[in-house]
C-alpha cells in the first residue's frame, strides 16, 4: 500500500469521526476509533482489521507466539542428532566443510570436531528425534515440526537478531511483529497488538538485545512491539504516580478529555479525537494490564504445568503470560529468553537452559491445545543462529549460520514432522534449506498474507518484510 492509500485510509477514518462526534458523548468516542468498525468481516477468506483485507489466503493461524531463544541455541544439543559428529569427536574438522567460510571467534583457529554433548531419543508416534534434555517437548512430539535446515546471514548476535526480526541488517526496518500487526490489525480491546516479554536465566553468556528488535521501523509507531516487564511495572509508566489514586486519575483523564473535546469543537482537528481515544485506551490499560500480568490467580495445576511461580519473571511465567495475552487477542507475542550463548561449558550450561525452557514450552503447547487455541496459534521456538559442530576452547561452540534448527507448532503446522536436514556433521543445511526470508514468508502465509503483497512505500521501494526474497515452505504446512 502506498502512502497515498494510507493517507486515504486515514482521511476516511477522520471523516468518519468528524461526522460522528458532535452528537456523541465521550464514552462513545472510543468505540468509534476501535479499528473493528473498519473491518468488513468476510469469513470466507477471513477478514482482517489491518491493511490486508480481505486476506490473501485462508488463514491457518490468527496469532503468533515466538519463543525466541536469544544467544544462538546449539542445534546439536536440541533438535539435530548427529551420530557422525560423535564419531569424529576430537578429530580435525574435515576441511571440505569449512574452507573459505565465515566463522566468528573460531576464525583462523584449529577446527576440531566436537560431538553432541547429550544423547537423543525418539519421541511420540512420529518418533521425532529430540535431545534427551527436552523430554517435555518430546511429549508433544506429534504436535510439533522441527525444521533442521535453517540458515541466516549474520554471524554476530546483534545483526543476526536484526535479520531474524526484520529480514535486513540495516536498522530502521519494521520487525515481523509490526508487519503482522500492520497487516492484520489487533483484536485486543485494551492491549497493544504486539507484545514483547524478556526473561533470562542462568548458565550462559547473556547477550544484549536492542529495542530495535521490536521496532516498527518506518511503519507508524502504533505498530511497534510494546515491551511488558514481568517484574516491576508491567508497562512503562502504567502505574499512577504515587499519591494519585484511581479516583484522581480517572477524574484527571475525564477532565483532560473534556478539555480536549472542547478544543476539538473549536478546531475540528481529528488528531484531537485520536488523542482523546488514546487517553481512554491508556486508562483502560492501566486498569487491565496489572491484573492480566498477575498470574497468581491461575489454578495451581496450571502453574505447576508450566513450572511458573507468579511474579518470578521466568521463561515459564512468560509462557503462561503469553497464553493469557493470546486469549485476549494479542496478535504477536514475542518472548525472548536469553543466555543461550555457549562459547564455553556447553554441556552443563545447555542442560540448565533445557530445564528453564523444556517444560514451559511443552506446557504452552498443551495448554493452548486443551483450550482449542493451538489450531490457530502459531508457536515458534528458535534463536538467531545455531552453533558450530567444532569445539571452542574444548568445551563450547561458536556461532554458526549455515545450518540450525527451529521448532514450530500449531497454527497450520504439520505435527510430528522433521523438515530439511543438515549434512552429516551438522554444519550446513543440505536438504530443503530454509532462509530467514523463507521463514518470514511462511509465517505470513500461515496468517493468510502473501508476503509479496504486504508492502509499504519506503525509500522508493515497495518495501516488504521479505525484501525481494522468500519462498513459502509449503512442506511444513498441514
Amino acid at each position: 500500500m502506498d502512502p497515498k492509500e494510507l493517507a486515504a485510509l486515514e482521511i476516511r477514518r477522520r471523516t468518519f469521526l468528524g461526522y460522528g462526534v458532535s452528537g456523541l458523548g465521550l464514552l462513545a468516542l472510543n468505540s468509534l476509533i476501535n479499528p473493528r468498525l473498519f473491518a468488513s468481516e468476510s469469513p470466507a477468506t477471513g477478514g482482517s482489521k489491518g491493511v490486508v483485507n480481505p486476506l490473501h489466503f485462508p488463514p491457518r493461524a490468527k496469532r503468533v507466539i515466538f519463543l525466541y531463544q536469544a544467544g544462538g541455541p546449539s542445534h546439536l544439543e536440541t533438535f539435530d542428532p548427529k551420530p557422525k559428529l560423535a564419531e569424529l569427536d576430537g578429530k580435525p574438522m574435515p576441511e571440505s566443510f569449512t574452507q573459505g567460510q565465515q566463522l566468528a571467534q573460531l576464525q583462523g583457529k584449529k577446527l576440531i570436531c566436537f560431538g553432541p554433548q547429550h544423547g537423543f531419543k525418539r519421541f511420540g508416534k512420529s518418533g521425532l528425534e529430540i535431545c534427551e534434555l527436552f523430554p517435555e517437548i518430546g511429549s508433544v512430539a506429534d504436535d510439533i515440526c522441527i525444521v533442521r535446515s535453517m540458515t541466516t546471514e549474520q554471524i554476530n548476535h546483534d545483526p543476526a537478531h536484526t535479520v531474524m526480526n526484520t529480514g535486513v541488517i540495516i536498522a530502521g526496518r519494521p520487525s515481523m511483529g509490526s508487519w503482522v500487526l500492520y497487516g492484520l490489525g489487533s483484536e485486543a480491546e485494551d492491549l497493544p497488538g504486539f507484545i514483547v516479554l524478556i526473561s533470562s536465566g542462568k548458565g550462559g553468556q547473556m547477550q544484549p538485545i536492542a529495542a530495535r528488535q521490536w521496532s516498527s521501523g518506518f511503519l507508524p509507531s502504533r505498530f511497534q512491539g510494546v515491551k511488558f516487564n514481568s517484574i516491576g511495572d508491567p508497562v512503562l509508566y502504567i502505574k499512577n504516580p504515587q499519591g494519585i489514586d484511581a479516583n484522581v486519575q480517572n477524574a484527571s483523564i475525564q477532565a483532560i478529555n473534556a478539555l480536549n473535546k472542547a478544543e476539538y469543537e473549536t478546531v475540528k482537528d481529528p488528531e484531537v479525537l485520536t488523542r482523546i481515544a488514546q487517553y481512554e485506551m491508556a486508562f483502560k490499560m492501566q486498569t487491565s494490564v496489572p491484573g492480566l500480568m498477575d498470574t497468581s490467580k491461575e489454578p495451581q495445576h496450571i502453574l505447576d504445568m508450566y513450572g511458573a511461580k507468579p511474579g518470578d519473571g521466568s521463561f515459564a511465567s512468560n509462557c503462561l503470560l503469553a497464553r493469557r495475552l493470546a486469549e485476549r487477542g494479542v496478535r504477536f507475542i514475542q518472548l525472548y529468553h536469553r543466555d543461550w550463548d555457549h562459547h564455553g561449558g556447553i554441556k552443563a550450561n545447555i542442560a540448565i537452559k533445557a530445564r528453564e525452557t523444556d517444560r514451559a514450552t511443552a506446557a504452552l503447547i498443551k495448554d493452548l491445545k486443551q483450550r482449542g487455541m493451538l489450531q490457530d496459534t502459531l508457536v515458534i521456538w528458535g534463536g538467531e543462529f545455531g552453533r558450530t559442530p567444532m569445539s571452542q576452547g574444548g568445551d563450547g561452540r561458536d556461532h554458526h549460520i549455515k545450518g540450525f534448527s527451529f521448532m514450530l507448532a500449531g497454527g497450520g503446522i504439520k505435527g510430528g514432522l522433521v523438515y530439511g536436514a543438515t549434512d552429516d556433521l551438522g554444519y550446513a543445511a543440505e536438504q530443503n534449506p530454509v532462509s530467514v526470508h523463507d521463514f518470514h514468508a511462511t509465517v505470513l502465509y500461515l496468517l493468510g498474507i502473501d508476503h509479496r503483497r504486504l508492502t509499504v512505500k519506503y525509500q522508493g521501494q515497495d518495501a516488504r518484510l521479505t525484501f525481494v526474497f522468500g519462498e513459502v515452505v509449503k512442506g511444513i504446512v498441514a
Binding site: A171, P208, A251, G345
Partner: protein
C-alpha cells in the same frame, strides 16, 4: 483493499484534474507512473531488465525491442507498443503484468497515451537538473499580502486552482507557533502580551529577529541535524557502550548559533581533518564520520565490520546531503535511479582513508582509533604541570631505588622466605556486625551457605556458573537501594600484627551494575576508613591508610585505587570494564596494627559518588601480615579452579600474595634474568620497600590526580586520515567476495565527475563537490527539509528521496527558488552570505504563507486534505524533545545551559536490563542536570529514553530525516505518569499558587496563560474547577496521598504551602500539561 482503492482513485481524480489543464509533463506526470510500475523491469538495473526494453531513456524507448515492435512512436499512440499493451485486456499481454501486483488506473493510461500523442518528450529527472532561479510569478492582488517570493509562488498556484490563501493567524497563535518552531520552547506570557499589543508595522519581524538570535534557535536546529547525522552517545552495536561524542554535538550547536555558512559546515564535517591547517573546531566537526554505529563484540570479523561502516557513511552522506537512497546499490544497481553499484563503492572509497578498526575498542591504547582531547586552557596548564611533577617523582624514586641495591638483594631473599612460609597470604575475615547508614540490608554469610550465580571467562569464552557454599565472610547488600550508602563492617581478627587491609567486591548475576554494584555501570568506593578498638565497646583509633593498589584491570581513569583513600567524597575506586572478576583493593596501613584476641577492627566503606547507586553488592574483607601482599587476582575462573589462559592474566596471575611474574623472576639468578624480569622485581621492590614508600606513595598520588584530570578533559571521536584501504565492489554486498573490481573515489557518474588532475580524490573533494553549484541536490534537499520544519511536510514529501521514487514537488519552482536563494541570497540579501541557513528560515517564517491561520474550511478539507497547496498552515504535535521542554519551561523547572556533556533525566528502573557488556543500570543525573533541554538527553541507541521514544524520536542508528508523528496510548501514559511531568506539574502548581493570587479563577487563568498563551474559556475553567474540587476532597480525605504526590521528583517542595492544596493544584496543572493543545503547534 477495494474500498481503499476506491478512495485513492477518487483522490487521483482530484489531483489529475489539476494536471489535465496543461500539457503532460514527463517529470510531473509520467515519470512517477513509470517509476512505480515500469522501471523495475524496464529501467536502469540491467540485471532485472526484461525483453531488452528500457523505458527510462528516450532513445532506448524509441528503438525496436527484441520482438521488433517499437515501444514508443512519438505522436503515434496507435503505433506504440506500450500503449497497446497497457490498454490490453488480454491477461497474457497486459502491462504491467499480473505478477507485478501493479495496475494502472484508467486515468494513468490516458495520461500516458496523451503524452505519447504529444510527442513523448522526456525530461531529465527534476532534482538532477541544475538549480536555476525561476522568475517570481506575478500575482494579481487578491487582497492577501505578498510578503516575499514564497507567497508569490504559493499564491500563483492557488490562483490556478481557484483557491484563496487563509488570513494571517491571530497574534497569540502566531507567536506561539513561531516561537515553538524556531526555539522549541513556548513564548512567555509577557512575550505574548508584548506582541499582541505591539502596534508597530514590524512587530512580527522583531519577534523573529529576537528568536533567531537566541541560542535556543541553535538548540532546535541542532535537534533536527542530529537526527540526520545519526548522532548518539552510544555506539549502537552489541554492548552499546558510551562513545565520546558530545563535543561534536556542541560543534553543531555553535555552528547554528553562529550561522556558519552551510558549505563550510558541510566541509568541516565530512573532511574537517583534511582542511589545510585544520583548526580544533574543524577536527571536532569531522567526528561526523565517526559517530556511526560501531562494535566491539568479541569474534566479529574485521573486514565485515569495516564494510558495514563504509556502507553506513555512504548511506548517511547520501541521505543528509544528496537526498538519495543509495542503500540498495550496496547489493545491486538502483532499480529506479541511475545509481550503480559502482557508484556506491566509489563513494565508499572516499571514506577508505579513515583510521578505524572493525572491532573498535573503547579502551586501551587503540581506544576509538583516534580521538581528540579538548582541555580548557587551565586544564592544559595543570596537565602539563602534573606531567612534569610525575616525571620528577619518577626520577626521585628511580634515584633512591638505585641507592638501595643491597637492600633490594636482601628483600628478594626475604620475599622468597615469606612466600614459602605463606606469610603473604591474605586472610579473609569473618565479620560479626555489618550495618548500613541509609537503609540497605546487610547480611553476613560466614558459615552460612551463599548461592552465587556468576560469570567466568575461560580460554576467552565466557559462561555462567553457579555455586552454593559457605560465604566465608561475604557481606551481601539487599533491600532498599539508596543512591549513596556507607557500609560499616566489624570483625575480630584475633591476635596479630597487620600490615594491610583488603577489600574485595564479589560479582553476582543479581547485581545490575557490572555484576558488582547495586546500580550504575560500576561501583565507586569513594572512601575506605578503618579503626581499631581494644574491644567491641571501646572507642576506636583511626588506622591511617597510605597506599591503595589493585591489579588495574577494568578501571576507568577516573576510578583509580588511590581515589578510595584521598579524602575526597566525590572520587573513588571502581571497575567498569572486564568480565568474570572479583576486584580486590589492597590498602596499606601507615603503621602495622597490633591486635589482641578482643580487638575489633571497624571498616567503613563509603559510596558517596555522584554516580547514583554505585554501591558494592557483595563484599569481603581481608587482612595481611606480610610486607606486602599483592592484591588477590580476583579472577572468578581461577577461583573456581577452571582452566584459564595464563597469558591473559595480569602479571601472570597472583599466588599467595605474590605476582607470578615476580615469583618466576625470583627463581632465576640475577645475571640470567631478562629485562622484563628485572623490571618486574624492581617494581615490586619499589612497591614493597619501607624506605621507598614515601616516594612511591607520592608518585601514585600524582598519577591518580593526573588521571582524574585527564578524565575530566572532554574527548571526542575524530577523523584521522591514513593511507586509504583498497575498496572493491562487493558483489551482492558480500564482504567475503574479493572478486569485484577495485574502485577509486568518485561521485555518482550521472552527477558528473570530479577533476583532480589524476590525483586520488579525497573526502575534501567530495565535500567541495557536495556544496558546489554543479551539484543540483544539496541545496534542494536542505531547503526541502527546512520547509518541513515549518509546514509539517516538505515541498517534496519524501525527504530522504529526491530521486525518481520520491515525490514530484508540490511547488517545484518555489523549491528551486529557495535552493537558489540558499546558495546565493539575492532577495533582501543585505547582511547575508552564501549558504545562509538563517536567511532561508527567516524568509520562510516571514512569509504570509507561514503566517496563515491553520483553520480548515470544508472546501479546503475536500479539495486539499493534505494541505499540499498551502492555502493554510498545518497543526502538528511538537517533537519529542519539545514535548519535554514545554513542560519544563512552563513549570519553571527548565535549566538553560548551552552545550556540555549529555544528561540523564529520570528513567524507569530496569529499562536497561536487556543490555550487557557490561551489565548496567541507569544512573540518573543530579541537580540541575535533571532539568536540561531534551537535546542534551543521553542518546542510548539500543534503548533510547522511553519518553523520547514514545514521542517518535528516532534511535539514530541510521540517518533519519523524517520523524514519524504518531499518537498512541503510550504517549498518554508518559505525560500522565512519567515523574518528570508529575514533578513539572507540582512545581508549576507551586508557582501558580504563589504568583497568581488567592482565588482559583485567577490561578487557572494564570496557569493556562503560562502554558497556552491565552486565558481559558468559561467551559474550560469550569472543567478544571470541577477537577480541582473533586481532587481537593480526595486529598483532604487522604492527606498522606497529597504528601506522597509532592515527593515525586527532586525539586524542593515549597513548605509554605498547604500540602493538600498544593497537591490538588498539581492535579490541575498536570491536566493542563497533558492537553493536546499544550503539545501542539498550531
Amino acid at each position: 483493499m477495494s474500498r481503499i482503492r476506491l478512495v485513492s482513485s477518487f483522490l487521483s481524480v482530484i489531483l489529475l484534474s489539476a494536471t489535465l489543464r496543461a500539457e503532460v509533463g514527463f517529470n510531473r506526470d509520467i515519470r512517477p507512473i513509470m517509476s512505480d510500475t515500469c522501471f523495475r523491469c524496464h529501467g536502469p538495473d540491467k540485471n532485472a531488465r526484461m525483453a531488452g526494453l528500457r523505458l527510462d531513456i528516450r532513445e532506448e524507448a524509441l528503438k525496436p525491442a527484441m520482438d521488433g515492435k517499437i515501444p514508443i512512436v512519438p505522436g503515434r499512440p496507435d503505433q506504440s507498443e506500450i500503449i497497446r499493451r497497457i490498454f490490453s485486456t488480454d491477461s497474457s499481454e497486459i502491462m504491467p503484468p499480473e505478477f507485478s501486483h501493479k495496475t494502472l488506473t484508467q486515468e494513468q493510461k490516458e495520461t500516458i497515451r496523451r503524452w505519447v500523442a504529444e510527442g513523448a518528450p522526456y525530461e531529465g529527472h527534476w532534482s538532477f537538473q541544475p538549480v536555476k532561479r525561476p522568475p517570481v510569478p506575478k500575482v494579481s492582488d487578491g487582497g492577501t499580502p505578498i510578503r516575499n517570493p514564497i507567497d508569490a509562488f504559493v499564491q500563483a498556484r492557488l490562483a490556478k486552482e481557484g483557491l484563496k490563501p487563509s488570513p494571517e493567524a491571530d497574534r497569540r497563535t502566531l507567536i506561539r507557533r513561531v516561537t515553538l518552531d524556531l526555539t522549541g520552547l513556548p513564548p512567555t506570557p509577557t512575550e505574548v502580551e508584548q506582541f499582541v499589543n505591539d502596534k508597530s508595522p514590524d512587530a512580527y519581524e522583531k519577534v523573529v529577529t529576537r528568536l533567531l538570535a537566541s541560542p535556543r534557535y541553535a538548540e532546535m536546529q541542532t535537534m533536527h541535524w542530529l537526527d540526520a547525522v545519526r548522532y548518539a552517545d552510544t555506539r549502537g552495536f552489541h554492548g552499546d557502550n558510551e562513545q565520546p561524542a558530545w563535543p561534536y554535538r556542541d560543534y553543531v550547536l555553535r555552528a547554528f548559533r553562529d550561522n556558519k555558512p552551510f558549505d563550510e559546515f558541510t566541509r568541516e564535517q565530512i573532511a574537517g581533518d583534511l582542511i589545510p591547517n585544520a583548526t580544533i573546531e574543524q577536527k571536532v566537526a569531522s567526528a561526523y564520520n565517526r559517530i556511526l554505529r560501531t562494535s566491539q563484540e568479541g569474534g566479529i570479523q574485521e573486514k565485515e565490520y569495516l564494510a558495514k561502516y563504509g556502507a553506513d557513511r555512504v548511506r548517511t552522506t547520501s541521505g543528509v546531503w544528496l537526498g538519495l537512497t543509495t542503500g540498495c546499490a550496496e547489493c545491486h544497481d538502483h532499480k529506479f535511479d541511475p545509481i550503480k553499484s559502482k557508484d556506491f563503492y566509489a563513494m565508499k572509497a572516499f571514506f577508505a582513508d579513515i583510521k578505524e578498526k572493525g572491532l573498535l575498542p573503547g579502551r586501551g591504547e587503540d581506544a576509538w582509533a583516534s580521538t581528540l582531547q579538548l582541555p580548557t586552557e587551565a586544564q592544559a596548564k595543570r596537565l602539563a604541570e602534573l606531567n612534569e611533577e610525575v616525571r620528577r617523582a619518577e626520577r626521585a624514586l628511580e634515584e633512591k631505588t638505585g641507592s638501595l641495591k643491597a637492600r633490594e638483594a636482601m628483600w628478594e631473599k626475604q620475599l622468597s622466605e615469606d612466600f614459602k612460609a605463606g606469610r603473604l597470604k591474605w586472610q579473609y575475615q569473618r565479620p560479626f556486625a555489618a550495618k548500613s547508614e541509609r537503609g540497605a540490608v546487610l547480611k553476613i554469610y560466614n558459615d552460612e551457605l551463599l548461592e552465587s550465580n556468576y560469570y567466568v571467562v575461560t580460554r576467552g569464552a565466557a559462561s555462567g556458573a553457579t555455586k552454593r557454599e559457605p560465604g566465608n565472610g561475604t557481606v551481601v547488600a539487599s533491600g532498599p537501594n539508596p543512591d549513596n550508602e556507607t557500609y560499616t563492617i566489624r570483625f575480630r581478627p584475633g591476635p596479630g600484627t597487620w600490615t594491610a587491609l583488603g577489600v574485595q567486591a564479589m560479582q553476582d548475576e543479581s547485581l545490575p551494575g557490572m555484576r558488582l554494584a547495586r546500580g550504575a555501570d560500576r561501583f565507586v568506593l569513594t572512601e575506605v576508613e578503618a579503626e581499631l578498638s581494644a574491644n567491641e565497646k571501646a572507642p576506636g583509633k583511626k588506622l591511617l591508610l597510605v597506599l591503595a593498589t589493585t591489579d588495574g584491570f577494568g578501571e576507568a581513569p577516573e576510578n583509580l585505587p588511590m581515589a578510595a583513600i584521598d579524602g575526597n567524597p566525590s572520587t573513588g575506586w571502581g571497575v567498569s570494564d572486564g568480565e568474570g572478576k572479583n576486584p580486590f583493593l589492597a590498602l596499606r596501613f601507615a603503621e602495622p596494627a597490633q591486635t589482641t584476641a578482643a580487638s575489633v577492627i571497624t571498616v567503613r566503606l563509603r559510596h558517596d559518588s555522584p554516580l547514583r547507586r554505585a554501591t558494592i553488592g557483595r563484599v569481603r574483607l581481608a587482612l595481611s601480615t606480610g610486607r606486602y601482599s599483592w592484591p588477590e587476582l580476583g579472577d572468578a575462573a581461577v577461583d573456581a579452579g577452571l582452566p584459564v589462559d595464563e597469558g591473559r592474566l595480569i602479571k601472570g596471575g597472583v599466588r599467595d600474595g605474590v605476582p607470578v611474574d615476580v615469583l618466576k623472576a625470583l627463581k632465576i639468578e640475577p645475571a640470567h634474568r631478562s629485562e622484563a624480569q628485572t623490571k618486574a622485581l624492581r617494581e615490586h621492590f619499589q612497591w614493597s620497600d619501607a624506605e621507598l614508600q614515601p616516594l612511591f606513595v607520592k608518585l601514585e598520588q600524582l598519577k591518580a590526580s593526573r588521571s582524574l584530570l585527564e578524565a575530566e578533559i572532554p574527548t571526542v571521536l575524530v577523523t584521522q586520515s591514513v593511507a586509504p584501504r583498497e575498496t572493491r565492489i562487493l558483489p551482492r554486498g558480500n564482504w567475503m567476495d574479493d572478486s569485484g573490481e577495485i574502485v577509486e573515489p568518485a561521485i555518482p557518474q550521472f552527477l558528473g565527475k570530479l577533476t583532480t588532475g589524476g590525483r586520488r580524490a579525497t573526502r575534501l573533494d567530495l565535500a567541495n563537490w557536495i556544496v558546489s553549484r554543479d551539484n543540483p541536490l544539496t541545496g534542494r534537499v536542505y531547503v526541502n527539509r527546512l520547509w518541513q520544519q515549518f509546514f509539517g511536510t516538505g515541498l517534496s514529501k519524501v525527504l530522504n528521496d529526491l530521486g525518481s521514487q520520491g515525490e514530484w514537488p508540490s511547488h517545484p519552482e518555489l523549491l528551486d527558488w529557495l535552493a537558489a536563494e540558499f546558495m546565493e541570497p539575492a532577495w533582501q540579501a543585505e547582511g547575508t552570505h552564501p549558504w545562509d541557513v538563517k536567511h532561508i528560515i527567516r524568509t520562510i517564517v516571514l512569509s504570509h504563507t507561514y503566517r496563515q491561520s491553520s483553520a480548515v474550511t470544508p472546501e479546503l478539507e475536500e479539495r486539499d486534505p493534505d494541505n499540499r497547496l498551502l492555502a493554510r498552515q498545518t497543526r502538528f504535535r511538537v517533537d519529542a524533545e519539545v514535548v519535554h521542554d514545554i513542560a519544563l519551561s512552563v513549570s519553571g523547572l527548565l535549566i538553560e545551559k548551552f552545550g556540555g556533556p549529555s544528561v540523564k533525566p529520570y528513567q524507569p528502573e530496569g529499562y536497561w536490563a536487556a543490555l550487557n557488556f557490561p551489565k548496567r543500570e541507569y544512573s540518573t543525573s543530579e541537580g540541575k542536570n535533571l532539568y536540561r533541554r531534551g537535546v542534551y538527553t543521553h542518546w542510548q541507541r539500543t534503548f533510547l529514553h522511553p519518553t523520547l521514544a514514545a514521542f517518535d524520536a528516532p534511535s539514530r542508528e541510521e540517518c533519519t530525516v523524517n520523524r514519524v508523528n504518531s499518537n498512541t496510548p503510550l504517549q498518554a501514559l508518559v505525560l500522565l505518569n512519567d515523574p518528570i511531568f508529575v514533578e513539572a506539574a507540582r512545581v508549576f502548581a507551586q508557582k501558580t499558587i504563589k504568583t497568581a493570587g488567592p482565588t482559583f479563577d485567577k490561578r487557572i487563568d494564570w496557569a493556562f496563560t503560562q502554558a497556552l498563551g491565552r486565558k481559558p474559556t468559561a467551559t474550560e475553567r469550569r472543567i478544571l474547577a470541577d477537577l480541582h474540587q473533586k481532587t481537593l476532597q480526595d486529598f483532604s480525605a487522604s492527606p498522606a496521598n497529597a504528601q506522597s504526590l509532592l515527593r515525586v521528583g527532586e525539586a524542593p517542595v515549597d513548605k509554605s504551602l498547604k500540602p493538600v492544596e498544593l497537591a490538588a493544584m498539581t492535579v490541575v496543572t498536570r491536566a493542563i500539561l497533558n492537553l493536546h493543545e499544550t503539545i501542539t503547534r498550531n
